[in-house]
Symmetry: C2
């Protein structure tokens, strides 16, 4: 029922025999159609079982088969943008088992990765870079006197990112073979935002014949494929652009979620989906408990209703920060999705604040990296009270090496003039949000805690711009300074120490962009200070504290996540190997105290 | 002779009486023309005397007068991109004295600055943000039910920056008054790069009538002004777009350097120029001595000739990193200017390296900020041996708050997998460059030292990926670890200490992205370690060292530049107030040693 009619009559063939693109070359259209049907079945079986990027891969299935049928990778160079649409590419390039054998589902990552295969050129996870990377490959080819094809595959959602303009603009003037495949499935992760999408719609409506053509304006030859899920059209088109001698855009109109009705109907929900029933689309896991994103959205909606000047912004990932379609409708004009365009989101927020609005930019920690310069220049130098709320930060965030949330603190907390707050519990999170939105003194970044929601009593209604550290537990000789969602870890370590006759002070620093020197001065006579932070140690608060106490006799131990791109790690193992367990922390405190560890 | 004929007959009037835009409203065309002529004279007198952005301001003079003549700032909101073209705006908005009275030339900064005037909305210095900021102002206006005009003024050079696409793309769909003035002077800082400029040329050639129109493709209404230095055309055009009810682009064709023949002839050299003779264009200062940029270019040219795989890249600022037109010609196909598009430059370099080339990205420290994400993702996660060479870093770099070079170390040295080298002298700089270009193991960033060239003997031919710290001077009890161009400061402090009976160890750490723990372990028994770094302390090497030695009895003192956006500072004063003088450093060492400071 969920497979498309067009494939229902094809007979079974063993796709597990496909070891490389060579195995599909020279096949008849019927055979290719059967391969597509079988791969689609396998994909749906895997995705519904373990979750993943559903819509992008089902939509670009035929195009990927056609791409490998016509081009000769790895001699021809194919770069996938974001690369969450590279599952079919992986199936065709020696990794079919990871899609047909449930035991091996986890053998491949969700993005291209050169450590997996020579067919994968780059490890990618952020948008809009494929054409840039391809311009480098093409320039190198030209300098080396070689003649292979260079192909960048980019989705329409990625086109709103500024780098996609920079690279299209530059790639158009190289004057040699350069092929950009635009996978136009009419969606970003959420609906597309921005004027360019009107032009893409015009091009689709006119079957590529409209005079007003973004790509032609930039100097590209242009080829339109109206049915981007039709193998024959795709193969014919790829043959036309293969070995071209200048820059060409092949604009392919695909259907996101093709072949799986629930994904075709609910494109935003099925861009990425956790394990689901392929017939009904229902999630297999039970409804999750209230999480911090729910708390954020409840707060934002109530604030938006109470205050016309509050504006929530995101850059193309509303669902990831809780702004699902119903929430967006409720927020109305006070919600802005700028599309995948983080620089625009942050600088626009500065303009909003300048004009008296109260902007809140909600963005995953990994993507805010695109806006370093805007945070520094447009927001901080201009002292605009913009609030940025980051998500999926720290060890319990996203685990792909391209999506880590360890580096938001080192990146942002060392920019002058930005107050970086680390809430430790639900009450403090709401209080910090409310304080940040209410004040007009300073830019603020708030790291949404990851992991389970913690409830903790305390007086959180303070001025976070002037308040010092919170002494959560008063003790002596040993201090544990534990930021954000690591406070619980610090308290657990403290409990252990109490059993061992040590009564440590436990401190919630509240912010990581500077120091409460008067609180720290009280620790100068301590035996030992241990800092805990849920981010890479380098550039974090622990090193700042160690430097401040560098001339005092107290020993300082800085603990946190490693400065390393780890890939698909297990959070518990990473915590353990980083010494971030109550036992290990207590052990350090004991050793400093001259008491033997138990 | 250097003033244009068209203005030669206008009689003198006292422009110093202009205190606000009101003073030019209602004037006749003749009076306005005279005001323009007098302001041009004053500008040329000031610029030739103290230097500044020559071309952009002379070219946009009439347009700025027309802008303030038609619109009602500060009620109408005008945002200048980069804002190095805002001198005339400053003259018209209460700051004329700083342009007509040589005693007051330094009373204003070179960029818009809200602390100077309510007519300046933002402190800006990086490109491509004006339209983003303006979208925020427009959205706030709409939410507040107000009706003033919002105008973004952006140069064609800034249009190649990705954010300029993000914001134009977003700004086009707001559906309310939104005016983008494109100042098309046919140049970036250097000649424009990228396909968009072909479209702008087509629009100029067809007087704005070409069917292929970048701005119309994005949905903008479009108005072309062929003579962007003609007051009447400009005023008529601004009147047409004023109070428009949707997004409009007014494309103004101006002449960079208008009215000053040497600047019109040598547009790249006169984008920004130090004091010069207005008749001949000759610099007033004597030829500078050999500097580090010269050393860089000599090295690059010899390497480019010796090795076909070496490719130098810059993002729109070739002259600032030594790639003057003659050098570019010599480098030929092995030099790439991507235009103002830092993301493209860095990601393209990753593609070049992947394909076996040896890319070297040369970029001012302040602008590399735009490419944080590309450094992390496209370069480091992919382990591509890209070399990035930064310029104008540290205290002797650029002194405008928007162009500081203090933050390259905290930003980049905390990204995993990038080796950040800090050369201390000419020999080491060349050795590091040559090593970086020759190896294929790791991404490398090299900070070009600022200040006078230092020559120092030593063996610099080492493997910088594995080598530890250089002991420049062997001593005991007190260690001074001095990075990059602060090594001389450390040696000077050491000399003072020797007079006082202390024999300090002086260490050149060579790199600031990690620690040589075996060298540091030898200091555990020292009385005192002092770290010196020519960058903001927060996130720097001193804090890392303090943390590493946090459990040792040795006292650690971390010295460096403040984590603060200082504006137009005096380097000597900033060094002094930061404790970065030989006397102050020696004083710390003495105090730690129990010897009284002298």
């Amino acid at each position: 029922m969920y497979l498309m009619d067009r494939y229902k009559d094809t007979k079974e063939m063993d796709i597990s025999q496909i070891k490389s693109p060579t195995d599909i070359k020279g096949r008849s259209m019927e055979e290719l159609a059967q391969i597509c049907a079988d791969m689609r079945k396998a994909l749906i079986a895997k995705l519904s079982s373990v979750g993943g990027h559903v819509g992008p891969n089902l939509g670009f299935l035929e195009a990927t088969v056609a791409l490998h049928y016509v081009f000769d990778a790895p001699a021809d160079k194919i770069v996938f943008d974001v690369s969450h649409q590279s599952y079919v590419h992986k199936m065709l390039t020696g990794r079919m088992e990871a899609f047909v054998d449930p035991e091996k589902y986890n053998d491949v990552t969700g993005y291209t990765n050169p450590r997996e295969s020579e067919y994968d050129l780059f490890s990618i996870g952020h948008t809009s870079t494929s054409v840039s990377l391809a311009t480098g490959l093409a320039k190198a080819r030209d300098l080396q006197g070689l003649s292979h094809n260079v192909v960048a595959v980019i989705g329409d959602g990625s086109l709103s990112g500024g780098e996609a303009f920079e690279d299209l603009d530059f790639g158009a003037v190289a004057g040699t073979n350069f092929i950009v495949v635009v996978n136009n499935n009419q969606m970003s992760i959420a609906p597309n935002e921005g004027a360019l999408y009107h032009n893409l719609a015009l091009l689709r409506d006119t079957k590529g014949t409209a005079q007003s053509n973004y790509f032609r304006t930039l100097g590209y030859d242009y080829l339109y494929v109206d049915d981007g899920n039709d193998l024959e059209s795709l193969i014919a088109a790829f043959r036309k652009v293969r070995d071209c001698e200048g820059p060409v855009v092949m604009h392919v109109n695909t259907e996101k979620g093709m072949g799986l009705p629930v994904a075709q109907e609910h494109k935003e929900a099925f861009h990425y989906h956790a394990p689901f029933d392929p017939y009904t689309g229902a999630s297999k896991s039970a409804d999750a408990e209230l999480d911090y994103t729910d708390i954020f959205i409840r707060y934002m909606l109530s604030k938006i209703k109470a205050d016309k000047s509050v504006v929530a912004l995101t850059a193309g990932v509303p669902g990831a920060v809780g702004f699902t379609p119903d929430v967006r409708m409720e927020a109305g004009q006070q919600f802005v999705d700028v599309g995948i365009a983080e620089e625009q989101a942050v600088a626009m927020a500065s303009g909003l604040a300048k004009a008296g609005c109260r902007p809140v930019v909600a963005e995953p920690a990994t993507f805010i990296q695109r806006a370093y310069d805007q945070l520094a220049q447009d927001v901080s130098i201009n002292r605009q009270p913009v609030t940025v709320v980051t998500f999926y930060g720290g060890v319990w965030g996203m685990t792909d090496e391209t999506h880590l949330g360890f580096f938001d603190v080192p990146m942002i907390a060392n920019i002058p003039g930005i107050l970086f707050l680390m809430p430790t519990c639900a009450g403090e999170y709401i209080a910090m949000l409310d304080w940040a939105v209410g004040q007009t003194v300073t830019p603020v970044v708030i790291r949404t805690p990851s992991g389970a929601v913690v409830n903790r009593s305390g007086d959180f209604s303070v001025d976070y711009n002037t308040v010092g550290y919170e002494i959560v537990r008063e003790g002596h000789d040993v201090a544990i300074i534990a930021a954000g969602d690591f406070l619980q870890l610090g308290l657990d370590a403290a409990d252990r120490l109490v059993w061992m006759g040590i009564n440590p002070t436990v401190i919630n620093p509240r912010y990581v962009s500077g120091l409460d020197t008067s609180s720290l001065d009280k620790l100068r006579g301590y035996r030992c200070v241990i800092t805990l932070e849920d981010n890479a140690i380098d550039g974090g608060i622990g090193q700042k504290i160690a430097a401040y106490l560098g001339d005092a006799p107290v020993k300082v131990h800085v603990l946190g996540l490693p400065k390393r791109f780890v890939n698909r790690y297990d959070p518990d193992e990473l915590l353990k190997s980083s010494g971030l367990t109550p036992e290990a922390i207590a052990g350090i405190a004991l050793a400093s105290s001259g008491v033997d560890a138990v």
